[in-house]
């Protein structure tokens, strides 16, 4: 796992909103791009945005802060946010920081199931 991989985000429209596919490291460097992608995905009528962490290699406290800022924006826009493909470790971070109070974390896929 390359924890130095730079952050990138890709917006994939969905029927009720959008999926933000995050890759690389989610840290301070990711904040601007992540929030900009969220704004871009938050068109009128968007009810739900999925944050897909399947290609994420590293999340630190600055990355968690960026996600908190995103959640604050989502709350203002009344958009539900869902976390997908979190590893067990990062799921644990979301739990101990109580991010899970504000973001729905999808269960981990069954082993062998495609993401």
């Amino acid at each position: 796992m390359n924890i130095d991989a730079p952050f990138a985000v890709h917006v994939a429209p969905q029927h009720d909103g959008a999926r933000l596919v995050l890759s690389g490291r989610v840290d301070r460097d990711a904040e601007d791009d992540l929030l900009a992608a969220f704004v871009a995905a938050s068109e009128p009528g968007t009810a739900r945005v999925v944050l897909d962490f399947g290609d994420t290699t590293y999340i630190n406290s600055s990355g968690l802060a960026a996600i908190v800022a995103l959640l604050a924006d989502a709350r203002k826009r009344d958009i539900a946010v869902v976390a997908r493909s979190l590893t067990g470790h990062y799921r644990h971070l979301f739990e101990i920081t109580r991010l899970t109070d504000l973001i729905e974390v999808e269960p981990a896929p069954e082993p062998g199931a495609s993401a």
């Binding site: 924890i3 406290s61 644990h92 101990i96 504000l102």
Partner: protein
């Protein structure tokens, strides 16, 4: 019948072109240029036609062109060093062989061949050709008019001939250059393919190679081999010769050595085997110098043998020692035998393997870098990845910026960490020092992860410790050091059978982080009552079993502890 010239042999191809061209007039040519009858009448007519009076009416000269009907002669090759050529270069117009006072081999052969007249072709004061003429068929002597005409012909032909020579020389040089460039590319390709892209690196050791090819690629090579029992084979070598031949011998030496090293542990036996293989196939006058050694990373023992390669240096606490081991280069003599030597590389020791491109580098005034300076390169090198760059910077300071690198420069720098630590299952400690840069915490995560690679620990505990270390180091680099890269954060990892402890020390004085840390409240952060940031210390405390904070007024240390009860 006119017979014009043959090329003299010119041993130096760079010398100005002195060419002779045969312009024997064939019956067909005679027919075209006279009345078509090959008899004496046509001969006379031709001579008359080429008279001075008629010259203004003639067409421009083009070869083959009859000047006068002469007997065919076999062109005589004129050696470039024959004094006749110097004479002809100074001659004014055609020269009768009978009038020559020179007694040189060329003159003798010209007479034997029946050559009567020589017409020097001179362009830009250089003799570029000689027209050789036999007797006139009419058996009359060459007239003054004939000679004037021949002189004029030579005056026109010589520059054209020289231009042709120059074009051919340039074409030949271009082809040589093109082939040279192609060979250079092939040699570089072979060299690059056979130098290892990734080197094994046991915990506690830093092995850093450097290779820079000369313009004409030499045959330097290095290798680091994984051997049974966790040992490493270290190789450095140099093939005599350059270009493709050297690259091919390098490639085959490396392959043979790799194979032998896996079967034979003993370095001397490995070199003996490689020599036996090479000596059968290596081109004559080529051989390979090579130093091969086996490093035991656990004990630091380095056993090596040498086939004529430059002797390595070790440095400990600023003391440099040249290691001694000698033997015949590989591929030189059948049955060469080698001796093993052993040296101990204790923590803090550094070993320098290098090629002669370093010791034989020159300063602008011609002074050679030499072996003493090569050994001294080790003194005061940083204990980091910057060490090899620093080493090359020092070499460049000696050679100056305009150094035309005569040979490949190759280095393998082997650095044993100053901190002792052992294998899994034992108690050990390892210390890292990291500059305070943005993102520097990831280096800490990576280094500690590598150090703990062999330590039994459940994945979730390992991940938790990594994140906690990253947060603590990031806090030190950012808040205590303000990302000042001149300030280092120390990360000391201690592994005991029951505990893993990671102490992170900065220059943050008496900061009492744990006492003042505010517990993050996600609701307050969303409402804007707390900054979205401020998770770091909370994560540190949440992810490890114990966190201790100490300060001596200057240095501040956070110690993270993880019990190994949960090891699985």
């Amino acid at each position: 019948m006119a017979s014009l010239v043959t090329p003299p042999s010119r041993p130096d191809r760079k010398a100005p072109g002195m060419e002779t061209t045969s312009m024997t007039d064939t019956p067909q040519a005679a027919e075209n240029s006279s009345d078509g009858r090959g008899d004496g009448a046509s001969d006379r007519r031709a001579a008359r036609w080429w008279s001075r009076r008629d010259r203004a009416d003639t067409a421009p000269v083009a070869a083959p062109m009859p000047v006068a009907r002469t007997r065919a002669v076999d062109p005589v090759e004129l050696p470039a060093n024959d004094p006749l050529l110097a004479y002809l270069a100074q001659a004014r117009g055609p020269v009768l062989v009978a009038d020559l006072e020179l007694r040189t081999p060329a003159v003798r052969r010209l007479r034997e061949a029946g050559v009567v007249m020589l017409v020097p072709l001179v362009a830009n004061a250089q003799l570029v050709g000689v027209v050789q003429l036999g007797d006139r068929l009419s058996e009359q002597d060459y007239s003054t008019a004939d000679r004037e005409l021949l002189e004029q012909l030579a005056g026109q032909a010589a520059p054209a001939l020289r231009v042709g020579q120059l074009v051919r020389e340039q074409q030949a040089e271009f082809l040589v250059r093109e082939r040279y460039e192609q060979e250079l590319q092939v040699a570089q390709l072979i060299q690059q393919r056979f130098l290892p892209a990734d080197l094994p690196e046991p915990s506690g050791w830093r092995i850093r190679p450097y290779y820079r090819a000369a313009r004409q690629v030499g045959g330097d090579f290095y290798d680091v081999l994984d051997l049974p029992g966790g040992k490493l084979g270290l190789v450095i070598g140099d093939v005599t010769d350059k270009g493709v031949p050297a690259a091919l011998v390098m490639a085959s030496t490396r392959s043979v050595l790799r194979a032998a090293a896996q079967r034979l542990v003993d370095p001397a036996k490995v070199l003996t085997r490689v020599n036996d293989e090479l000596v059968r196939d290596i081109p004559s006058r080529m051989f390979v110098t090579c130093l091969y050694g086996v490093l035991d990373p656990t004990t630091g023992e380095f056993e090596f043998a040498n086939a004529g390669h430059d002797l390595p240096f070790i440095e400990v606490d600023g003391e440099v020692t040249e290691l001694d081991a000698r033997g015949m280069p590989l591929g030189m003599l059948p049955g060469s035998a080698y001796d093993n030597r052993t040296v101990q590389l204790d923590p803090g020791a550094r070993l320098l393997l290098y090629s002669d491109g370093i010791a034989e580098a020159h300063a602008p005034d011609g002074e050679m870098f030499g072996f003493a300076r090569t050994g001294d390169l080790l003194i005061g090198l940083p204990r980091s990845d910057a060490a090899v760059d620093e080493l090359m910077t020092r070499l460049a300071a000696f050679t100056g910026p305009d150094w035309e690198q005569e040979d490949d420069v190759t280095v393998v720098l082997v650095d044993r960490s100053v901190h002792r630590y052992g294998t899994a299952g034992q108690q050990w400690r390892r210390v890292f020092h990291l500059p305070s840069t943005e993102g520097g915490e990831r280096d800490a995560i990576r280094l500690v992860g590598e150090a703990l690679a062999d330590v039994e620990l459940a994945d979730d505990r390992r991940d938790a410790l990594s994140t906690a270390i990253g947060e603590a180091v990031m806090n030190a680099m950012e808040h205590a050091h303000g990302h000042d890269p001149t300030l280092q954060v120390e990360v000391a990892v201690t592994v005991r059978p029951d505990l893993i402890s990671v102490a992170i020390t900065d220059q943050g004085g008496e900061d009492a982080l744990l006492d003042h840390a505010e517990d993050p409240d996600i609701g307050a952060k969303l409402r804007g009552e707390q900054t979205p940031r401020g998770w770091g210390l909370f994560l540190v405390r949440s992810l490890v079993d114990e966190v201790h904070e100490t300060s001596d007024g200057e240095q501040h240390t956070l110690t993270l502890e993880l019990t190994r009860d949960g090891a699985g």
